[in-house]
């Protein structure tokens, strides 16, 4: 099946919008030029946030009628970059600028087993995959983890559809996901080297899984994930970027990225994926006052620890200790 990795713009009309769970909105878009969205695809939306045009990515939860109905699930994140607030305000009949389905998280074929792990709203990237695996008659498990049942989207529907293939972990019910046990089970189970895991969720969960995956000596290419760089070790806070070569400082608010803020300030920087994957936007760090919250998946753990460079598109700075009143600051080498 042709895999679409190309970005082209079109208009989409909101045909349905309602609440899926507490703080989670279901938005069904009907695009101008419908194309079926295969499992794992997302669409980018161009949103006007306080006078700035920003691009935000949302997984396609479900594609129906040859892509004439694309369902998104959007969580209202108080500390997010402003996109979710805008999305929650959409009403039936509104028109949005959107891309066609873009595939950068495709479901493979031919593995002996599949384990899908969703943390919170990450479930939106995995619903279509689970449906697909079910249709294929594949051996799969869908793991859903969340803080509270009320905020977990599609829980009941998924449980109905996937029956005993589903495993639910809810923090405040005391049933927490034990990452090491989960990965250990795969390593000790049938065909560990032919088991693929697909995960989407907060970066901390994904980091923990990645560490366990490596510790259990499972093949790294079998661990697939998608991150839009939207979560980190600290909640987003305002910070300052110093650019000595340009003789200026730029403030980064909670709902913009460093890359957006620099571009708004007229600084010409290079970028491509804008989600912390490709490393094109990497710059050298001269100094840090506070902590760097990398949030990208381009730099290795070791590289992140040395703090000598960062990816502009997703990385943030944080004070690190809440008592401190001065915002954090990073000084970057931008020749």
């Amino acid at each position: 099946m042709a895999v679409n990795t190309q970005t082209w713009w079109q208009q989409g009309r909101v045909v349905e919008a309602d609440d899926l769970a507490e703080g989670v909105r279901r938005i069904v878009l009907s695009p101008d030029r419908p194309v079926h969205a295969t499992p794992g695809t997302h669409v980018d939306l161009r949103l006007d946030l306080d006078g700035h045009v920003r691009t935000r990515s949302y997984s396609v939860l479900r594609s129906e009628d040859g892509g004439r109905r694309l369902t998104l699930g959007v969580q209202l994140a108080p500390s997010s970059r402003g996109g979710s607030r805008h999305m929650h305000g959409l009403e039936v009949g509104d028109v949005v600028e959107m891309t066609g389905p873009v595939q950068s998280f495709p479901l493979g074929v031919g593995a002996d087993r599949y384990v899908l792990v969703a943390g919170g709203i990450g479930v939106t990237a995995l619903v279509a995959m689970a449906d697909s695996l079910r249709r294929r008659g594949a051996d799969y498990t869908l793991v859903l983890a969340g803080r509270r049942r009320a905020v977990m989207a599609y829980l009941e529907e998924l449980a109905d559809t996937h029956g005993d293939r589903i495993r639910v972990f809810v923090d405040d019910e005391g049933v927490r996901l034990d990452v090491d046990a989960l990965v250990g089970e795969i390593a000790g189970g049938p065909a560990p080297a032919r088991t693929e895991m697909y995960m989407c969720g907060p970066i901390r969960l994904m980091d923990a899984i990645r560490r366990a995956w490596v510790a259990h000596e499972l093949p790294e290419p079998n661990l697939r994930f998608e991150t839009f760089g939207s979560s980190g070790a600290w909640a987003a806070e305002e910070f300052v970027v110093h650019l000595p070569q340009h003789d200026r400082s730029v403030a980064v608010t909670t709902d913009t990225s460093m890359l957006d803020a620099l571009e708004d300030a007229g600084v010409d920087v290079m970028w491509d994926c804008r989600k912390g994957e490709c490393g094109i936007c990497q710059v050298k760090v001269l100094d840090v006052d506070g902590r760097i919250d990398h949030r990208d998946v381009f730099l290795s753990k070791k590289q992140k620890e040395t703090n000598t460079s960062l990816c502009l598109c997703v990385t943030r700075a944080a004070r690190g200790e809440p008592e401190r009143s001065e915002p954090a600051a990073v000084t970057l080498h931008l020749p």
């Binding site: 493979g108 294929r136 697939r224 490393g279 590289q303």
Partner: protein, 367 residues
């Protein structure tokens, strides 16, 4: 499904579209190796075909994730293929395993890998919706690797729409005109034939009784019955299975020895195995073999039959190429049908329904 449920399908499309949700032969098993990838386009999808260290055949999109360099020009390292340009490596699932210039691997670095089944001496691929790829639906060509049959074949690169090849095989009256020196004879056009079908199969049956054996068949009779001469009963039973496999049960038996009633012991029987894979709307990979169920031990006969059929199919190839050129030169002219096209028209009806189910038009997009 009954006929009445369907909108009428009228004139035949000249450049027939092809279903994507189907198994197509991509290569003979021996063509796909662990030494070097093979480049081949199947149903408009350029593929790199190779084998990993445990012998499994792999079909991957022939374009690197990075800058789309063809992976088929790359090298194989055990379970991985390396892009010839900047050295990215991929495993058989298409997931990147190494980015030489960085410490991590971009999570989106994946090239599509397609479902593959190896069966009947062929490597079959499915380029459509992988959710529907059921290995149980690979067309039946069991004579290809059964101990009761022996033979071999070749591949023709046919510069024509795949449906023209199917038409050619569903009506064998053309033998009288195209293959007059080998298998053709007047009785072909004169003999009655019967067409039957279900949702995925079409069968055309033709018997010619008490006739002279044409040169090809006389030789085969003499291989089994040395010194044979006399009249024969000849049969051609054409079995089509969707989307594009045609196995033709052919043979002759000493006249009046009961072959039409089921006793073929006094004759020779072969199966012409054909499976046609659209490469593009105007080009096809035509895989064929001639299998026989007598004198299985004779490699000489295998070679002679392969060479014989090679000659016969060379005549078809020339006709098909010329027909496609004429079609392209006459875009405003329709196809008309003769009574002999009944089998081919049932094939088109079945394909048309498959295309409808996929939401595709019957006519391929003009190039």
């Amino acid at each position: 499904m009954t006929i009445l449920d369907q909108p009428p399908v009228t004139a035949a499309s000249k450049i027939f579209n092809f279903p994507r949700n189907a198994w197509y032969v991509a290569a003979w098993d021996h063509e796909v190796t662990a030494k070097q990838p093979l480049a081949r386009t199947i149903a408009d999808v350029p593929l790199a075909l190779w084998r990993n260290s445990d012998g499994r055949a792999v079909a991957m999109a022939d374009a690197c994730w990075h800058r789309l360099a063809p992976l088929s020009k790359g090298k194989l390292f055990g379970d991985e293929i390396q892009c010839p340009y900047h050295g990215l490596r991929y495993n058989s699932a298409g997931r990147c395993t190494s980015m030489p210039a960085q410490e991590t691997i971009n999570p989106s670095a994946i090239v599509p890998s397609y479902p593959v089944v190896e069966r009947h001496r062929y490597v079959w691929v499915w380029v459509g919706d992988p959710d529907l790829a059921d290995s149980g639906s690979v067309p039946d060509m069991h004579q290809m690797d059964s101990p009761d049959w022996a033979g071999d074949g070749e591949t023709i690169y046919a510069p024509c729409n795949y449906q023209l090849v199917l038409d050619n095989l569903m009506d064998l009256t053309h033998e009288e005109f195209v293959h007059s020196s080998s298998i053709g004879q007047d009785e072909l056009s004169e003999a009655e034939f019967e067409v039957s079908h279900d949702d995925t199969h079409v069968t055309v049956t033709r018997w010619m009784r008490d006739i002279d054996a044409p040169p090809f068949w006389l030789k085969n009779m003499r291989d089994k019955f040395p010194g044979f001469s006399g009249k024969v009963d000849r049969w051609q039973i054409i079995h089509f299975e969707a989307p594009s496999t045609i196995c033709i049960d052919v043979g002759v038996a000493k006249a009046g020895t009961g072959a039409p009633e089921g006793d073929r012991s006094q004759g020779v029987n072969g199966f012409v195995m054909n499976t046609i894979t659209p490469e593009t709307a105007r080009t096809s990979h035509y895989f064929w073999a001639f299998m026989r169920n007598y004198r299985l031990e004779s490699q000489t006969i295998t070679t002679q039959l392969r060479q014989g059929v090679h000659g016969v199919f060379g005549e078809d190839e020339e006709m098909l190429a010329a027909q496609q050129r004429a079609i392209d030169a006459n875009p405003d002219h329709e196809f008309y049908s003769l009574n002999i096209d009944a089998g081919g028209m049932w094939v088109r009806r079945i394909l048309d329904r498959m295309l409808q189910a996929e939401g595709l038009p019957a006519a391929a997009a003009a190039k």
